[in-house]
Amino acid sequence: MRTKETPFVGFIKTLPKNMFSGLVVSLIALPLGLGLAMASEAPPIAGVITAIVGGIIVSVFGGSFVTISGPGNGLVGVVLIAITTLGLTATYAAIICSGIILILLGFLRLGKLADYFPSSAIQGMLAAIGLIILGKQFHIMLGNKIARDNGIDYLLEIPNTLITVVNYQDKGLIYAAIAGVISLAIMVFYSKIRNKYLQLIPATMWIVIVSVGFSYYYEFILKTPNPISAAYMIPSIPNIQEIITDIPSPNFDMIGTLSFWSSVVALTLIASIESLLSIKAVDKLDVFKRRSNVNKDIKALGLATVVSGFLGGLNVVTVIARSSVNVNNGGSNRSSNLFHALFLVLFIVLFSTELTRIPLTALMAILVYTGYKLASPDVVRRIFTIGKEQLIIFFATLFVTLKVGLITGIVAGLIATFVIHIVVTKSLSLFVKNILKPNVLMFKEENGGYFISVKHFCSFLNFNMLKNKLEAIPEESDVILDFSLCGFVDHSVMENVHDYQELFHKKGGNIGVIGLDILGTKSEHPFALRRLLPIQNIITNNKTKRQNNLEQVANDFGLRFDPLKHRTSTFLENFIYFKTKKIEHVFNQLSAKESPCHLFDVTFSEGEFIAKEVIRSTMLHIKTSSNVPVFTLDREGLLERLYALTGYKDIDIKNHADFSKRFYLRGENENAIRSLFNDELVLFFESNAYYHIESSKDGLLVFSKERMASIKEIKALLDFGLRLNAIINKV
């Protein structure tokens, strides 16, 4: 048993892991910070200052646990417009003002601003930001710097740029374009290759290493100047003394103008939306399932933004990709955010001159990839499956944002959503009459469960009322959410409720939604209906060769083969392996009622946004009795990093030195595990192929590699599982 630790001792113990995680994150933050700042036409160092200030202040005053703060990609577009209309020093003043507003929002408990925006409109806005980034940086990535009026014009120029690049005569430009293309390739293919040595260093850092190495190769080996055109290299980075002496003074002269305040509003809006979406997404990844204090975090982000503005940095927001990398590398509290900032300081002190060896085109490739991820066809496809009307909202927001601006864009999205809701319900009065009514009733039933009933309608306009009630329920409770008195429930609500369902499920509670089926039939409700059928199984009789073979294997082992995708994967959620991963669906299942073995392919993702990796893997689940203790058995080194996170100790089995040397056996209840691993079981593991095995409450999870298995491997896995089952159940 683990002894009780004081919080302080616990904190000290986690420091090394958080330091490591902070280091990995800082490796991403450095190139990304430079790139984001340059994309917004601010001095490159501004992005790094933002990350440093954000990391230090938010880690001290923040209310979340595993988030990383720094310059955000959503703000690129807004900062860019601010700098072109106001100038750099006035933009710093606008950033300071938006920081003050954020602090006020935090104190007024209005931090949850993002809840009032329909999710398709937010998606549209983010996609527009992605296209703005992609459109502008694509040209620079290929060494063809151009200036156009708005986002759409930049996008329309892409074919021209491609033609120009093919006809380049200037060698410097050709090298610049090659650097850009190679960097983009690194970003795209990095996540497809699962090699543990390659993955030790983040993709963005590989770009930096390769380009700095390239530069040194020319300088020291070939003794010729770097062939990449000097115009496409990062302009000089000030060293630490210069940064301190040259702090720009913000210019508040334009504080009376409308354009100043519209920039402030846009900065505040995007900063709060991006932060909130990130906090929400990162909370889902937290191994310890903690709940972030959003208002406290917004206050800290606001304060950090004010300080950052005064020191020549940009808006500080919570960033999703870096935060997810933090979680995946063992970050467990805010100290990793602090370490990420401190490592950045170290990098700037030690390597500020080396950074000028990075080609601009390589940095912009990172941004092009970021922009693509924000506006990727997947986003459109996902929205389309929810409903055609969501696509209208999405594109309305997207086009208005690109053509006019961010604030107009989000307002257009709001109006489009509201109009669509009126058209769908054929009633304006439903919304007008009931919008201010406290339409949510919550009470505790005699059995200790909670009952929530929602009346009239529930959409992005009044979701906060339902949200307040849901927030006030301990997540381990059972909740019935009744929409049967509701005439209309929109997609944003369904999506948010779904998030809460996941959250409750994770902590042992449950939210049962009732009354939607009546709604669907009575009012032909489009959003609710489609939300209930998120997975579409297209043609089923069109099996792949592997599926046909799997069917054969199933017959051989007396199992049933089910190729369809299923979203129910509750039996996997208790396994430590899946704690930081999001399971998407389970498919190609081989199972039978009477057999304890259940073989399946599973699709899951690790990380978020540009750090996201989608993995498909074949695994075997064995049902066991519930008295098998929780343990993980692993070949030395394979996944040890992940399991070190849980704090379990390596357990040695007496008289089996060879076994102890070859395997990592971890778990909490040492005695129970020792008694489980008797001679027979140890011998079994010693004499069979290596598998990663882990047990949870009432099952074992067995797999060998983080990829889909071949038919031969599946046969071996099934055979191994059956024999293991025989031994374990004997013990």
Binding site: G63, R290, R291, K296, P438, L441, K444, S453, K455, A472
Partner: protein
């Protein structure tokens, strides 16, 4: 404890399709409570009108119903309000209208004005029927208010007379009373504890109220006490709807100013969306 009873029951009648149903409901209640029924008609008296009313009432007269027809011309609101005083009516019955296409009921503007100004108890019927529909479940408010004792007692009286199976006393706890705002896990735990404490406090208070009710009334009725967290006055209607109550019994509002109508509270919510039959105890 002095039991309250409705000695005289009044109902405003006009010639609408609901006339028979309204009269039947009123007459049935008057028989149950052994009270006198007064039919108030705004308009001139005429042979023909009286004949129609008596025709509808004759089956109940045979069962021993005592009734009176009262005619007076003028503004409907004034006429009904003055006649309730004149005839010493204890309970005034008002029928609600049903919106076409919607499963919602609302009060006409006249009925609303009467409800606001009436000095006696008012029963709002959403679905008067010609034949008797049994009343199974009564929801009554258990607010911390001097009137509550009487209201709850009345609810039990009605429950007793109508043979109701279950009465739920609902304590509405305002969100404001839970002083901790939920931000994170710690504040959530705190607020859950505070809520539990409030719930126990409210339940103890309701128990006291229930203890002073004559045991005759409570004998055959299942009693439940249910704390709910929500907007006062609104949420109880919502609860009555969710709990499929047949009758909601509420305190009469203390005083009604212009602002109460602009920013509705308590009873005004109920008047805008009738969840079920409502009895407002004066």
């Amino acid at each position: 404890m002095n039991a309250i009873n409705f000695k005289t029951i009044g109902i405003g009648v006009n010639f609408s399709p609901n006339l028979e149903a309204n009269i039947n409901e009123a007459a049935r209640l008057a028989l149950r409570f052994e009270s006198k029924l007064v039919l108030i008609h705004v308009g001139e008296a005429s042979e023909e009108k009286s004949k129609t009313f008596t025709e509808f009432l004759s089956p109940f007269e045979n069962q021993g119903l005592e009734y009176e027809l009262f005619y007076k011309s003028g503004d409907p609101v004034d006429v009904i309000l003055t006649s309730t005083k004149e005839k010493k009516i204890d309970l005034l019955i008002i029928g609600a209208l049903k919106k076409e296409n919607f499963l919602k009921y609302y009060l006409g503007s006249i009925a609303r004005k009467i409800t606001r100004q009436a000095s006696c108890s008012v029963l709002l019927l959403i679905n008067p029927s010609i034949n008797r529909v049994p009343c199974e479940h009564i929801v009554v408010n258990g607010l911390k208010d001097p009137k509550t004792q009487e209201t709850v007692t009345t609810a039990f009286l009605v429950g007793h007379k109508l043979g109701v199976g279950k009465i739920t006393v609902v304590e509405e706890i305002d969100q404001e009373e839970v002083s901790v705002k939920v931000d994170d896990d710690k504040s959530l735990r705190k607020s859950t504890i505070i809520k539990e404490r409030l719930r126990l406090r409210e339940e103890a208070r309701v128990k006291k109220v229930l203890d002073s009710i004559p045991s005759d009334y409570t004998k055959e009725i299942t009693i439940k006490s249910q704390p709910i967290f929500g907007k006062r006055g609104y949420s109880i209607g919502h609860y009555a709807q969710v709990a499929r109550a047949d009758l909601l019994v509420m305190n009469a509002p203390s005083k009604m100013t212009f602002w109460d109508r602009v920013f509705p509270h308590d009873i005004e919510y109920i008047l805008t969306e009738l969840p079920t039959d409502v009895l407002i105890v004066q």
